[in-house]
Symmetry: C2
């Protein structure tokens, strides 16, 4: 590959796709060209990149002929169909869907944690689930210090994780609700405005959702820790952007708050925001559109032997998706 | 005491106080008379009870002279000052504040769980914290079956727990946000519309909030289980009414889903709402203004030996406050 990449974005008109353009621009990603690829429905829509309007083209089997690097963010089905085609055309694929995350020959990477895994890619590199990525940004530095055994976590997930239509749905429902009008829904199975929905993604036979099991499954691969256990409840909340996760984590070694704070502070990509006496802790409103994740509410867990409870926030379109994908590309 | 009670409600113009009137009316509580007591600021406000408008009177040391039963719901400071006065005047006090909940000679009661404790009261009976009460409605029947050891829980608490002004604040902030206007705040330390705030009540030195520790402290008293441990994160969410709690519970005995469902179904005051394949689970929107609490998302916990994960919803103004208080009065 040359030092300037010919880039394609599949799913370019979606929430993550648009964010990808912003991130590449902001980080001065060495893109020789950018091709936007979308479904027939969205082809023709234009997006601005470095002062130029680029029109989305319809995704097809010949879309990747002149491409070095393809970001996929159009769902698992599209990735399964077109990522192998892109690889055959000579592109490296960075896939934001769940399609290849558990595949042995596909590295699953958070650059701050397991950048080294990128080297063994065979054409596809997977970007982790958003809630998992944000949680691990706080958990991994703690794990390095204290050796994590298991976590209990509950998420407070913003609607933007479900795409641009979901953002609009929350806005319209909130407007209707405060003016006493009829509430319509399309994206979510239930009203999301002034409600919370304890379901993200579909259910497995175990009673957990797919989203909930990603924490354990993807966490094991990213941290290289096959014994890691995670019991998670994923909940959609009426927040536009940025996810939050409440975590109780059990470690092998004795935890102290001083060492835990040190571990966070000395890790890239996450900041400590933890001053309860002044009501300071991370909130989704403060971390929307921020590259950095934040952790607060650090406390020795009252129900675990070597445990720490904490609260982490991060923008799931950025660290949970577009930013992490571009960071992976920068490793190449 | 006669079979008809002369009732006083302290904090009668607050969110819980108003609900108390509705609950007494609905349950045909044998009230000979109802006196509404409030601060100087709210005295004079009228509320309807059994077709009559009753004006709130200013709370004073002589307010309880002709009262058999006094409900307190005006904060711990008012309870500490006036509950002993009410008792001296011959009234039984049912206190919704945290003032006496941990006091040895004050029973802390959820009627479905420990009705028998009421008998040993010395004038004051305490009503538990709302999040604790709703969680225990699901946990206790499971405990009876499997013997609970500890829980990890995260709450999704509605604004109504912070009073009528808080409800108005969420409404105004949501209105302002969707029309791009300036957002004002007064009740909550941060914007609550389209945000979540990982703080309810004030912080202890341990890093937990008072609210978070109530689960363990009150849970031990209500379940008569001094070894019970709970690690909780309490979070305010932009929901008007009804709290939700995600729980991972560890038990002494082996848990099966069939037995867990049976335990819930055969317990009064809670219903099972658990059909993931049809996207059926409790949500705060469905349990606002409902007496009954509901549990769903029952699943064998993936990170505990004998563990069960579940999700419980309940109206914190009802089971979490007014309903439970009136139920206690009915036991007398």
């Amino acid at each position: 590959m040359s030092r300037q990449y010919r880039v394609a974005i599949v799913g370019a008109t979606g929430a993550v796709g648009i964010e990808m353009l912003h991130v590449m621009e902001r980080r001065k990603f060495p893109a020789a060209s950018v091709k936007l690829l979308a479904s027939a429905r969205s082809a023709g829509k234009t997006h601005r990149f470095r002062g130029q309007e680029i029109a989305a083209q319809m995704l097809g089997i010949n879309s990747f002929e002149d491409i070095d690097l393809a970001f996929f963010s159009a769902g698992a089905a599209i990735s399964r169909e077109f990522a192998p085609i892109a690889v055959q055309s000579g592109a490296v694929v960075i896939d934001n869907s769940s399609a290849f995350r558990m595949q042995e020959n596909v590295p699953l990477v958070i650059p701050e944690i397991n950048a080294g895994d990128v080297a063994r890619h065979e054409g596809i590199i997977a970007n982790p689930n958003c809630t998992t990525a944000i949680t691990l940004m706080a958990l991994y530095p703690l794990h390095r210090k204290f050796r994590v055994k298991r976590i209990f976590a509950s998420s407070y997930q913003a609607v933007s994780g479900a795409g641009t239509q979901a953002i609009e749905e929350l806005k319209q429902q909130a407007k209707a609700a405060v003016s006493g009008k009829h509430i319509e829904r399309e994206v979510f199975p239930h009203q999301i405005a002034f409600n919370v929905i304890p379901q993200v993604d579909s259910f497995l036979d175990s009673g957990y959702t797919k989203e909930e099991m990603k924490m354990q499954n993807e966490g094991r691969r990213i941290m290289h820790l096959p014994s890691f256990k995670a019991s998670v409840t994923c909940v959609r909340v009426p927040v536009f952007r940025a996810h939050s996760i409440a975590v109780s984590a059990e470690f092998q070694e004795r935890v102290t708050i001083v060492e835990a704070r040190d571990a966070i502070v000395s890790f890239r990509g996450i900041e400590l925001r933890d001053d309860p006496t002044d009501n300071v802790y991370p909130m989704p409103l403060d971390y929307a559109e921020e590259d950095v994740c934040a952790v607060g509410r650090l406390r020795i867990d009252s129900a675990l032997e070597n445990g720490l409870a904490f609260w982490v926030c991060g923008d799931q379109l950025l660290k949970g998706a577009a930013l992490n994908a571009v960071q992976i590309a920068e490793l190449l």
